[in-house]
Every structure is written in structure tokens, then in C-alpha cells.
């Protein structure tokens, strides 16, 4: 099983990529603005998962894989929904 801590790198990478993408968007109109909102949401959700893992790891508490999985699923759904706004 993949250690949860290593997954953090993936979320950080996703944040980096979404930040880069956000800089390229000049949003005007419902479609491009919705896409901007979705990628900003991806960015924020990735950060909240990283924050969850960081805090619980620092406090020496078990990191609930279920919550991380739910977050990851949310990210996948957000990324898929971005296809709708294109």
C-alpha cells in the first residue's frame, strides 16, 4: 500500500500544475470563468488535503485514508467537471 505521506507529493504537484494553468487563463464569459473557478477549487482542495495530512502527521495521529480518498475523489470529479466547462 502507498504510504499516505508520499501521496502529498502528488497533491502538491497538482497544486503546482493548476496554479500554472490558472495564470494562463484570461476568464471572461460563463464558460471560461467556470473553468477558472473549477481549477481554483482544485487548487484549494489539494491544499486542504495536504494541510490535513501535515497536521495529523505532526500531532502523531493516524491519518484517515478514507478522508484522503474522499478528497482525491473530489479532485477527480472537479477535474472531470472541467471538461463540461470547455
Amino acid at each position: 500500500m502507498i504510504p499516505v505521506r508520499r501521496v502529498v507529493a502528488l497533491f502538491l504537484l497538482l497544486q503546482l500544475v493548476s496554479t500554472g494553468y490558472l495564470w494562463t487563463v484570461n476568464a471572461i464569459g460563463t464558460v471560461s470563468e467556470a473553468r477558472f473557478a473549477v481549477f481554483l477549487a482544485v487548487n484549494l482542495l489539494s491544499f486542504s488535503i495536504v494541510a490535513y495530512i501535515y497536521t495529523h502527521d505532526k500531532w502523531g495521529e493516524a491519518i484517515a485514508r478514507g478522508w484522503v480518498l474522499v478528497g482525491a475523489l473530489g479532485l477527480v470529479l472537479l477535474l472531470l467537471s472541467s471538461l463540461y466547462f470547455s
Binding site: N26, A27, I28, G29, T30, E33, A34, R35, F36, A37, V38, L40, A41, V42, L44, L45, F47, S48, I49, V50, A51, Y52, Y54, T55, K58, W59, L78, S81, F85
Partner: protein
């Protein structure tokens, strides 16, 4: 803490550190048990306020607060400015979220008795902050100058005339000034972007100071706090990172909602269009709107309705001085918890009803019937829940042991509630059935039938449960009468 530092830059940094206290622990650490989103609803409300501030300041770059340009500048922002619609949509939904979060924060604080000693004034300040938040909603609603927002605001302003003369004169001066659309819009804009934010910031500072003084309240449910749960976590970086994560999750939810439901502007205000429209306030004022539409409060009864709404707000403000019991545990506060649940039930009922019946005057008997029915339904459910929890061996404090007099009173009260609830449920069910026969099948009559029979079922279940709890079901008539007379005593294992 400041440590001895070498070199010019080190000494300079130490000088600033000594004066500004940058490395001093400014905020008290948070206990581990507070790492729970429910403890940070107030913080999330502040996050929503900050988002409002940032998006609002950006919108101020384009918005023109005059009746001739307000709508066109808003429309221009949506259609021609990069991220214009996005900013307005996020501003709108975060405003809604701010009001909802403030309400949830208030109700959570009520249920876990945060308003009790020594945090009474924190509650009072928090309630004033809640009123300011509603003020944000009221003033901000007018600014786009759409037919919907202007009509609803005019109705709201018209109600002020029904208040006592001194109050109405002051409020009229404050929000309308000398009169006229231009002054009205400018006053609303000033209140929205200067006065209310400043007031909220001052109140927030006062509340944060009191929070620092009293700390975070201990939990009122679950097992006693052990050493692990009560250990302190430093505000930085631990709690800060946790809060940022929570705020990020909230922000992503807001963004998703904004992406799915982008703002679309109703038509611009004009007296002709307004005449064709039934004015309706935004969702957070619908419950007041519905109270004002009850036929008993029409015309001359309006001051009485406003008095009732004022009384609700005053009761909320003065709650710490009304609910003076020492216990903070939910299990030991059945009456106040039930009142809180009924309050939420009534708010939802009146808001939904107000949304579904714009401009429609509500007959007094119908309003009384539904308001009492909801109170009975929620009261019965709460009563049954407390009884079940009590029966399942929840700790019973000394304050719950009842005397014979109290027992008699409770028994009588329970029977009155059940009988009146049953009567209302039977009446409403029959009414729905007659409607079905007379007017044919319709969605509303089916919903009414479903709700009333469901309510009847709950009342029947509660009655049976109550009878069994009192061991009445298999007993003789004489014993039943005896039980009815004495109620449950201190020795009864309720």
C-alpha cells in the same frame, strides 16, 4: 521570544521583534478537542467576510452608486470585465454562506451553552455581529438596482413607517436621508462598504479579545476530556494550517457552486416593471416576510408583527440572562434544547412558506395551525428522543429527578401535547382527503396528505411509547387513573 542576535541585521530584527512582538505567542494555544469544524464555524464566517471584502473591493473599481449607472455598471462588469461575473458570483454566494454560517454558529453556540458564564457578553457581541451581517444582506441587495432588489428593498423601507415614531425617524434618516432614489442608493452603498464593515471589524476585535480571555469552551457531549484531548496545540503553525485547510475546503465549495450556478442579472429597475412584480425579499428575510403576511398582522396589526419580530431578536440578544441554568450538557437541558429545535423548525417552515406564497395573505387560522403543528411535531420528536436516550442509560443528573408535583405537571403536559397534536394531525389529514376528493389529485394536496399522515403517525407512535413508558398499557383502569393522577415520581425509572 527575542534572543540575542549578532550582526547589524540581527540587531535590527531584534529591535523590531522587541517592539512588535513578532515572535511572541500572541494567541493562546487551542486544545486538541477543538480540532473539529463545528468549533470553527465563527472562523469560517470571518473567512467568508474576508472573501466578501476582497471581491467587494474589486467590484468597487467598476461600480457606480447612482440610479442611472448602478445597473449598467454592474452589467458592464458581468459582460465586459475579465473575471467580472466570477467576482460577482463569488461575492453573492459567499454572502449567503456568511449568513448561513453565522446562523449555524449561533445555533451551535446555543445548543452547547457557550452563552453561559463567563461568556455572556461574547454571546451578546456575537448577536450584534449577526445583526450587522443581516444589515450587509439588506444594504447589498439594493446595489445592483434590479427590479427585484429595488422592489424588495422598498417594501422593507415601507415597513419602517410602522415602527414607533422615534425609531422610524432615526432609521429613515439613516438609510434614506432626505429621500429620493439617488440618496437612498448612496446611503445604502455607504452603509454597505464603510459603516457596516467598520462596525463588524470593531465587534470582531472585541469578540476575539474575549475569546483570548476565556478560551475555547469545553465540549458538552461525549466522554469526559482526557489528557490527549485537552493537550494544547500552538496557534502557529498547527492550528493556522488546520484553519487554512478548512478555509480552503470552504472556498473550493463556494467556487464549485459559483461555476455551476453563475450569476444572471434580473432586469433593471423601472416603476413600470416593478408594478408587474410581486416583491419578495432574499431568503434570509423570508421568515419575517411570512410573519408580516399573516392576515391578523395586515394593516393596523403591522406594529404587532414588528413587535413580535423585535421580541424574537431581543430574546436572542438577552439569552444568557434568560437561560441561567448551570449545566451546559445537552442531555441536561431538554427544555431549552427543544425550544431551539422548535425555533429552527419554525424558521424553515416560515421561510419555505414565504418562498412559495409570494404576495399572498395567509389566513390567521392557517398560520396558527401550521406554526403550532410544527412546534408540536418537533417538541414530540425531541421529547421522544430524550425519553429514549434516558431509557438507554444516559447519565441522569440530580436535576432530572422530579417531585410528585413536577411529575403530575409533566404527565398532564405530555397528554395535552399529544392530544392537541393528534387533533391537528387528524384535522389536517381529513382536510387533505376532502381536498383530494373535491379538487382532484394535485402535488400540493398529496404533499399535505403525506405530511399530515406522517405527523399523525409520529403522534400515534409517541402516544404508544408514552403509555408503555408509564406501564399503562396492560394495567387496570383504576391503576391508569392513579398513574394519571400522580404522574411519574422520583422513584420511577424514567
Amino acid at each position: 521570544m527575542t534572543e540575542a542576535r549578532n550582526g547589524r541585521w540581527g540587531r535590527l530584527a531584534a529591535w523590531f521583534d522587541t517592539r512588535l512582538g513578532l515572535t511572541y505567542p500572541l494567541l493562546r494555544p487551542a486544545p486538541r478537542y477543538s480540532i473539529n469544524p463545528f468549533y470553527w464555524l465563527g472562523a469560517l464566517t470571518v473567512v467568508a467576510f474576508l472573501i466578501q471584502g476582497v471581491t467587494g473591493m474589486m467590484m468597487m473599481l467598476y461600480y457606480v452608486p447612482s440610479p442611472s449607472d448602478a445597473f449598467s455598471s454592474t452589467q458592464y462588469m458581468i459582460q465586459s470585465v475579465y473575471y467580472g461575473r466570477f467576482l460577482q458570483t463569488v461575492h453573492l454566494y459567499t454572502a449567503y454562506a456568511m449568513i448561513m454560517l453565522a446562523f449555524m454558529h449561533m445555533m451551535r453556540s446555543y445548543f452547547v451553552s457557550v452563552h453561559k458564564k463567563p461568556r455572556e457578553l461574547m454571546w451578546v457581541v456575537g448577536m450584534v455581529m449577526g445583526f450587522v451581517t443581516l444589515g450587509f444582506g439588506f444594504t447589498g441587495y439594493l446595489l445592483p438596482w434590479t427590479v427585484v432588489s429595488k422592489s424588495a428593498t422598498d417594501v422593507g423601507i415601507g415597513i419602517i413607517d410602522a415602527l414607533p415614531r422615534t425609531i422610524s425617524s432615526f432609521l429613515t434618516f439613516l438609510i434614506i436621508g432626505a429621500g429620493g432614489d439617488a440618496t437612498e442608493l448612496l446611503r445604502f452603498y455607504d452603509l454597505h462598504v464603510v459603516v457596516l464593515p467598520a462596525a463588524l471589524l470593531v465587534l470582531l476585535t472585541v469578540k476575539m479579545y474575549m475569546l483570548e480571555a476565556h478560551g475555547i469552551a469545553e465540549p458538552t457531549t461525549g466522554p469526559p476530556i482526557d489528557q490527549k484531548a485537552s493537550r494544547s496545540l500552538p496557534i502557529f503553525p498547527d492550528v493556522t494550517v488546520y484553519l487554512l485547510g478548512l478555509a480552503a475546503m470552504f472556498g473550493s465549495a463556494m467556487l464549485l457552486i459559483s461555476a455551476i450556478f453563475p450569476l444572471s442579472l434580473p432586469p433593471e429597475y423601472s416603476p413600470q416593471l416593478a408594478a408587474q412584480l410581486t416583491a419578495q425579499p432574499d431568503w434570509y428575510f423570508l421568515w419575517i416576510y411570512q410573519i408580516l403576511k399573516i392576515s391578523a398582522f395586515e394593516g393596523l396589526g403591522l406594529p404587532a408583527a414588528l413587535g413580535l419580530v423585535t421580541l424574537i431578536f431581543v430574546a436572542l440578544l438577552a439569552l444568557p440572562f434568560i437561560d441561567r441554568g448551570h449545566s451546559r450538557r445537552i442531555a441536561e437541558r431538554p427544555i431549552f434544547v427543544t425550544i431551539g429545535l422548535i425555533f429552527i423548525g419554525e424558521l424553515f417552515l416560515l421561510s419555505y412558506w414565504g418562498l412559495e406564497s409570494p404576495g399572498q395573505v395567509i389566513p390567521t387560522y392557517e398560520a396558527a395551525l401550521l406554526i403550532v403543528a410544527i412546534a408540536l411535531l418537533v417538541g414530540d420528536c425531541s421529547f421522544a428522543l430524550y425519553t429514549v436516550m434516558g431509557a438507554r442509560g444516559a447519565p441522569k443528573p440530580d436535576s432530572e429527578k422530579v417531585s410528585k408535583t413536577q411529575g403530575r405537571f409533566r404527565t398532564a403536559l405530555a397528554f395535552v401535547l399529544l392530544i392537541s397534536g393528534g387533533a391537528i394531525a387528524i384535522g389536517a389529514s381529513l382536510n387533505a382527503i376532502v381536498d383530494l376528493f373535491l379538487y382532484g389529485t394535485s402535488a400540493s394536496s398529496l404533499v399535505q396528505l403525506g405530511l399530515s399522515t406522517g405527523f399523525l403517525g409520529i403522534v400515534a407512535f409517541s402516544t404508544v411509547f408514552f403509555m408503555y413508558r408509564m406501564e399503562l398499557a396492560g394495567a387496570s383502569l383504576k391503576r391508569r387513573l392513579d398513574w394519571f393522577e400522580i404522574g411519574w415520581s422520583a422513584n420511577d425509572s424514567r
